[in-house]
Subunit: 397 residues, 2 copies
Amino acid sequence: MINFSWQVEYQSKNNNARTGILTTPHGKINTPAFIFCATKGALKSLTTNIAIDNNTQIILSNTFHLMLQPGSDLIANHGGLHRFLNWNGPMLTDSGGFQIFSLGYGSVADEIKGSANIKRNKTLLSISEEGSLFKSYVDGSFKLLSPEKSIEIQRNLGADLILVFDECTPFHVDKSYTEMSMRRSHRWATRSLNRFNSQIKYKPCFGSAGEQKLYGIVQGGIYEDLREESIEFNLNKIDKFGIAIGGSLGSSKEEMYKVVNFTAPKLGNKYPIHLLGIGDPRDIWNLVKSGIDTFDCVSPTRLARHGSALIKGKLGKKNIKNKKFANDLSPVDTTCGCSTCKNYSLAYLHHLFKAEELLGLQLVTAHNIYFMNQLMKLIRISIENDSLDKAEKDWFS
Amino acid sequence: MINFSWQVEYQSKNNNARTGILTTPHGKINTPAFIFCATKGALKSLTTNIAIDNNTQIILSNTFHLMLQPGSDLIANHGGLHRFLNWNGPMLTDSGGFQIFSLGYGSVADEIKGSANIKRNKTLLSISEEGSLFKSYVDGSFKLLSPEKSIEIQRNLGADLILVFDECTPFHVDKSYTEMSMRRSHRWATRSLNRFNSQIKYKPCFGSAGEQKLYGIVQGGIYEDLREESIEFNLNKIDKFGIAIGGSLGSSKEEMYKVVNFTAPKLGNKYPIHLLGIGDPRDIWNLVKSGIDTFDCVSPTRLARHGSALIKGKLGKKNIKNKKFANDLSPVDTTCGCSTCKNYSLAYLHHLFKAEELLGLQLVTAHNIYFMNQLMKLIRISIENDSLDKAEKDWFS
C-alpha cells in the first residue's frame, strides 16, 4: 500500500507551471493547492466541516503555538491532531521555524510591506547551534525549540506532512548572517531528519495518526549563490519527501518573484514544492509559473475577520464594513458558489459587522476559503489548457 | 389553506401540562418548545443551518435592536427577516417592550437574582401614553417606540408571530404603578391590534414573508387581582392568536412559579401560551406544568459564550474553562447527539477557550441549543406518557 506519493500530472508548455497529485494517508491533494492555517488547531471562526463544504483540501497547524497550548502530549493522547480538531483530510505542520522569525523580526508580509520591526522583540531570547530559546506567550516560561524537539512535537501532532526545523532569516540582516544562518539551518535539517528517522512514532502507544513525510527547506535569502548552495543541500544531502522555499524573499514583490523564480525551477519536479507564507492571489498567479505546488498564508482567513471579502479583479476585495454595502441585496459575488454567497446578502454581512455579531467573521471566512480554492482550481485547469497567462489577465481585468 | 393553527395534542392527567402543535406558514412547532434568540438577526456565533442540524424549531429577533441597526425598511427590502438571516422556519419578534424594561431597570434574570438596577439608566428617557422615548445605542439619536411604530416595524420584519407593544414593569415599583402601567399596556395592546388590522403588510410592495399572527401580553406583576384583570382583558377584549405572560414575575423563583401558576391555567388551552424571558431548565420543568407552551431566553447561547455547556443534573452545566477538562478526551456528554459532542472532546473545547479561538463559542452554542431542544422533546414525551414528575426527578438525580 502506498501511503504517500507525488506525481506531476501535466507540465506546462509555456513555463514551469505544473499540475500534480500529492497523495497522503488522509487523502489526495490536487496541486497547485492552497493550505489554510488552523494555527492553534482551529480555522479561527470556522468548523472543519464548513471548510470541507467550501472545497478545502488541506490545512496546517503550528508547532510553535500548539507546543505552548495545549501541548503536544495532550494532542498525542487524542491520537493526534486530526482527531483533536476533527479534520480527516491531509494536514501539514510547520516546524516552529517561521515563528522564531515572526517573533524576532515580524512576518514575511510585514517585511514585504516594509513594516517589519528592525529590532528583535523580547519574546525571542536567543538563537544558538542548539536551537532557539524564547519566552512562552502563554505563561512567560523559557522554552527551547531545537530540531529534535520540533520533530518530536510534530511526531506527536501526527500531521501527514512535516517540516525540518529552520531559522527563517529576515531581509534586513547582511549576507554573512544569512550564510551562517543557512548553514546552521542545514545542520538543523540533518538533525531533524535523524530524529525523524529514529522514531517512527514518538509515542506510538498513543495511537496512530498515520505515517508522516518530511519536507526540507531551502534558505539563502535573496542571494543566488546561497540559494544554489541550499538547493544543492536539499536535493542531494537529505532524504525528503518535499521541499519548501523559506527564508527571506526580499523586500518587494519583484524581489520575491525573482528569488522564487530562481529557486523553484532548479528543484525540478521530483518533489512537491511548497512556498511558505504567501497567499496574495496576485503572487499565486505569478509564482505557480515558477513551479510552486502548494502555498500557505493566514491572509484569507485574517482578511475575513477584518471584513475583507476576496473577489476577482484588480481591487481584490470588498470591504464589508463600507457603507455602500448597507443596502446591497446581492451576495459578495453573484457567481460564487460558497455557502455564504448562496445564502446571505452584502447588506446582511454589513449588518453583522456593524452590530459586531460573531457570525459575520465566520461567513466571510467561509467565502474567502471557497474563493481561494476556486482560484487554485482555475489555475489547475488553466495550466492543463496551457492558458494560464490568459486566465490571469482575465482574472484581473 | 390554513396558514396558522394551534391544537392541543395531549392534556396531562396530573397537572396543566400539555403538548400541542403550533402551525405557521413557515412550519410546525411541537410544544412545549424553546425559542432561541437571534437578537440582532443572528444566533451570535451560529449559522441557522447548524441550528437546524441541532433540532431548532423556532427563533426570535428583537424589534428594538433591529429598528436601530440595520432598520426595518432595509429588512423589508429583503422581503423580510426570514430571507435576511437565512431562516426558513417559524419565527417570532418581540415588540420592543421587553427592551424598554431592560434599558430602564435591568433584565428579568437580573431581577430574580436581585441584581437589577433600582434607578433607571439614562438610555430610557421617558414612558408616556404615546409610547417610549429612548436614546439609540447606535448613534445617540432620540427614538420613540409606540404601539403603532412597533407593529409597523414587526410588519416590515415579517416574523410569523408578533407581539403587542407593552411595558414590562419591574418588581420594585409599587402596586399603583404596576396597575397604571398595566392599563396603559392594555390601551397599547388595543392600539397595536388596530394598527395590525389596518395593514395586512406595511410595505407589501417589498415582497411577502407570509401572513402574521399577533400575541397579547398578560401584565399585572405579582398582584393576583391585576393579573386577573389582565387575563380578562387578553381573553375577551382583543383579537389574538396567542397570549404571552409578561411583566414582573417577582423577585424569586418561588414568586415566579406562583405568578405563572396563577396566570397560565386561567388562560385555558384555546391559545398557545408563551412565557417571556425564562430559560433555566429547572424553571422550564416546573412551568410546563402550569401550561406554558413556549419559552424564550438568551441564556442557552449566552452561557455558551461564557464557556458553560449545559448538562443534566443538579449542577446543570460544565464550565469548559475549568482546568479539570484540560486533558478530558470525552465529549461534554457521552450520550449527547449534538454536532459538537459527536466530533469534539472537552479537552479540545477547553483548549479553544484558553487560546481564545472563536470556534469554541460556536461549538458550545451548538451543544446548548441541541441540549435545550432535547430537554423540550423529553418534556413532550413525558407529558404524553403522564410521567413528567418522574422524568423531572430523573433529570436532576
